[in-house]
Subunit: 404 residues, 2 copies
C-alpha cells in the first residue's frame, strides 16, 4: 500500500511504477518521474536528496541512461522506489518531489535510436492481405516462419497528445489510371504495443529469446498512424514509407518488464515449426494485455495482446539473428494488435473493411477512416498478480492537412 | 594551390576540402579533420589556435554540430579553410595540426539519426524487377511517379573498412518447399551515393527541391551490403529488413555540396509527368560522378551517377512532402547506381544476373556473389570546374559467418 492518496486503488499502484519524463513548469527542462496513482514522483530529485547510488542516471532528462545500466540496477531501483512510495517513513522526504499529474507537462520518455515495426498479429496480417492483395493468399508465405517487420522513422516518434496533421501524398485508387496528389483520404490508426531496449549489443551479437529481459527495459503503447492510400500506392516493392513516416505516437509511461511478470503467457501453438532461434519454449513473453480503442470516446475495439503469434522476445531474436546490433533507445513495436473477432480489430482499415462497412458512432455519424477533429485513444491494462497494472494511453487528435 | 605537399595534384586539393573525423592516436578521442592531399588537418585545433568564431563546432567529435550551423556558416568555414591551406602565411600555424593520413585512425564522420535508402536508378530497378519478379512488369507502377525508398537501420551504419561478417538468416530458394537457416549464400554489395542532412526541420515542414542546399551538408559513398537470399524471402509485404540491416558502410570523407557545384547536371527527361513538388526545373541536382567498383582489385563496374532518374533534391522533397521532419545526421542514399550498360551495373546481383552469368576475376576465379575474404571497394570522382574532386572510397572485406 502506497501512502500516496488514491494510489492503492489505481492502475498505477506499487505493482506498476512506470517511468516517464516530465517538467513541473511548462517549457521547463525534462526530468524523470515515476507515476504513482495520479501523481508523479521526481525520482531524480529524491535520489539526489537521499544520495542514491543511481542518482546520476535518475537525474537524467530521459530514460536512456537508466536503461543502459542493466537489469540488476533496474531491479534495485524498482525496489527502492517501492520503499520510498510504500513506506510512510519516506513520505516527508518524498513530498517535495511529488507532483499532481494534472499540474505537470509530460515529455517523450526516451530518446529513440532505431524504430522497427513488426506485423505479428495473424488476424491483422490476414485481414490486410485480404483487403490489399485479394488475389493472393491472405498471409505471405514467410509469415509463420519469421516475424515480418520493417524499419520506421525514428525522428517522427512523438508523445501522446501531439496533433496528428493529415499528411499530403500520392495515391492511386484501384481503377484510376493515374496517381493524384493531396491530403490523405484514408487516414487510420494502428493499436500497438511497443518495447524499448535499454542495454545495447555489439554488431555480430545475437540476443536469443532467453536474453530478452537482459536487454529490454519496458513496455508502452504505440499508435502507428497510417495513410492507407499513400501506403498502398508506394509500398511495392520496398514496403511502407510516407504512408507511415509522418507520425508515430507513444504513451508517456514505460512499464518495466518486472511489473508484467504476472501477465506473461505462452505464445499460441505454432502453425509451422520454427527455427531454433525463434523457439520460445521456456521463455514465454506473450503478455495478457487488454487493449481498448476509443474514437471520440466511443469504445470501438478491444484488441487482445495475448493473441499475438510472435512475442517481443521472438521479434528481438529475429531482429538480431543476422548480427544487427541494438542500441539503448531502440524501440520496436508489435504491429497492429487484432484478435479473431471483428470487435477486436486494431485498425479502421479492418473495422470498416477499407470503407466497405463504415462503423457507426454514438453521435449518429459513421467512419470509414479518421476525419479531421477525431480523437483516437488506445489504452491498455494487464491483470497482474498484485492488482491491475495500467499502461495508460496513447492519444491523438486529427488536424487538417496543411496547404501544400 | 595549397602549400601542403602533393595536394595540388590530388583529388583532394583546395577545390574539395571534405570533412571527416579522425584521431591521431589509436583509440583516442575523435576530432574533426579536413582532408588535403594525403594529409588531414585538425580543424578544431587550428580553429582554437586562431580563435575562430566556429571553434566550438569545429572542435566537436562529429560533424553534427557544424552541419547544424547552416549554409552561411558552411560557406564561411570553407572559405577560411581554403585560406589556411592555400595561403603560405598560415603554414606555420597549421603545421602542428597537420597529420599524414596513414598515421591517423579514421572514424565515422557523423552521428546517424535516420537512414533512408532510395531506389532511384531506373536501370537497377528494372534489373532487379526482371530478376526477382519475372512475372510482373520490370518497374513497379509507381516508379516513374515517385522516388521509391524505405528506412534502413541507422545503428549499423559503419565506417569503411569495418569487416563485413557474413550474416545468418532464413531463405527459401525458388523451388524449395521450406525455408532453411544458415549463412547467406548470396552476399552482395550495392554501390551508392549518400547525402547527409545538416539543418533540421519541424514536423509538418516540407523541404522543396529549391531548399535542398539549405538542409543537405554533403555527399559521401555508401555500400548497402545485401544478403539477396534473406531479402527475397523476407521482403513481401513490408520490404527489406534483415537482408540489409546487418551492415551499411560509408566512406570517411563528406564532400561539401559547394565542392560539387561544377558537377551538377539536370536529371534525365521524364517518362511520366511529375507532381509539382518533384519538379526540379531550375534546381538540377543530378551529379556527374563516376563510380568505380573493384573486387579484390579488379575493376568490375563503372556506374555513372549522372544517369540516376531521381536526384537527391527530389528524394528529400519526397521524404518530407508528408510532413515528416528531418534531423541533423539524417542520411539518405541514392539506391544502387547502375547505368544502361552491363559494365555499369552497381551490384553483383545484376553483374552476375543472380548467379546465371558469374563474372571472371583476374586470378582466374569466378564470382556469382561475394566470398569470404573478398574485398569490395567503391570509389568515385567528379570532374569539377577547378580540377577533379574525389569522394574517396568505401571498402569492406567479407569475414566468415559466426557460428549460431
Amino acid at each position: 500500500m502506497s501512502w500516496v492518496p488514491g494510489a492503492a486503488e489505481s492502475e498505477f499502484g506499487l505493482a506498476n511504477l512506470p517511468f516517464g519524463a516530465f517538467t513541473p513548469s511548462a517549457g521547463g527542462a525534462s526530468r524523470l518521474g515515476v507515476r504513482i496513482g495520479d501523481h508523479v514522483l521526481d525520482v531524480g530529485g529524491v535520489a539526489a536528496a537521499l544520495g542514491h547510488p543511481e542518482r546520476a542516471a535518475l537525474g537524467s532528462s530521459t530514460l536512456n541512461a537508466l536503461m543502459g545500466r542493466g537489469r540488476r540496477v533496474w531491479s534495485a531501483v524498482r525496489e527502492d522506489l517501492g520503499a520510498w512510495l510504500g513506506d510512510p517513513s519516506f513520505e516527508d522526504r518524498c513530498r517535495p518531489y511529488l507532483f499532481a499529474l494534472d499540474a505537470v507537462e509530460l515529455r517523450l520518455p526516451f530518446e529513440v535510436a532505431d524504430y522497427v515495426d513488426f506485423y505479428s498479429s495473424e488476424y491483422h496480417a490476414a485481414n490486410v492481405g485480404r483487403i490489399f492483395r485479394p488475389d493472393t493468399p491472405a498471409l505471405p508465405a514467410n509469415w509463420h516462419h519469421l516475424p515480418v517487420g520493417y524499419h520506421g522513422r525514428a525522428g517522427t516518434v512523438v508523445l501522446s497528445g501531439t496533433p496528428v496533421v493529415r499528411p499530403f501524398g500520392q495515391r492511386k485508387p484501384p481503377g484510376e489510371g493515374r496517381p493524384s496528389f493531396g491530403p490523405s483520404t484514408e487516414l487510420d490508426f494502428e493499436a500497438e504495443v511497443g518495447f524499448v531496449v535499454g542495454v545495447p549489443t555489439t554488431i555480430g551479437d545475437r540476443v536469443g529469446v532467453a536474453g530478452f529481459a537482459e536487454h529490454v527495459f519496458g513496455v508502452f503503447l504505440l499508435n502507428d498512424w497510417s495513410a492507407r492510400d499513400l501506403q498502398s500506392w508506394e509500398a511495392v516493392p520496398l514496403g511502407p514509407f510516407l504512408g507511415k513516416s509522418f507520425l508515430t505516437s507513444v504513451s508517456p509511461w514505460v512499464v518495466p518488464l518486472a511489473a508484467l511478470e504476472g501477465a506473461r503467457l505462452p505464445t499460441p501453438p505454432r502453425t509451422e515449426p520454427v527455427f531454433s532461434y525463434l523457439d520460445d519454449t521456456g521463455h514465454p513473453w506473450g503478455l495478457d494485455l487488454s487493449l481498448e480503442v476509443r474514437l471520440n470516446g466511443d469504445l470501438i475495439s478491444r484488441p487482445p495482446f495475448g493473441a499475438m503469434y510472435w512475442s517481443a522476445a521472438q521479434q528481438l531474436a529475429h531482429l538480431t539473428v543476422n548480427g544487427a546490433s541494438v542500441r539503448g533507445g531502440d524501440i520496436f513495436a508489435s504491429g497492429t494488435v487484432s484478435g479473431p473477432d471483428p470487435q477486436e480489430w486494431g485498425s479502421l482499415l479492418e473495422l470498416a473493411w477499407r470503407g466497405e462497412r463504415p462503423i457507426g458512432l454514438s453521435d449518429g455519424s459513421v467512419r470509414a477512416f479518421l476525419e479531421d477533429g477525431d480523437t483516437l485513444t488506445v489504452s491498455a491494462r494487464a491483470a497482474a498478480k498484485e492488482g491491475t497494472v495500467g499502461l495508460g494511453e496513447v492519444s491523438g487528435t486529427i488536424a487538417p492537412a496543411r496547404p501544400s
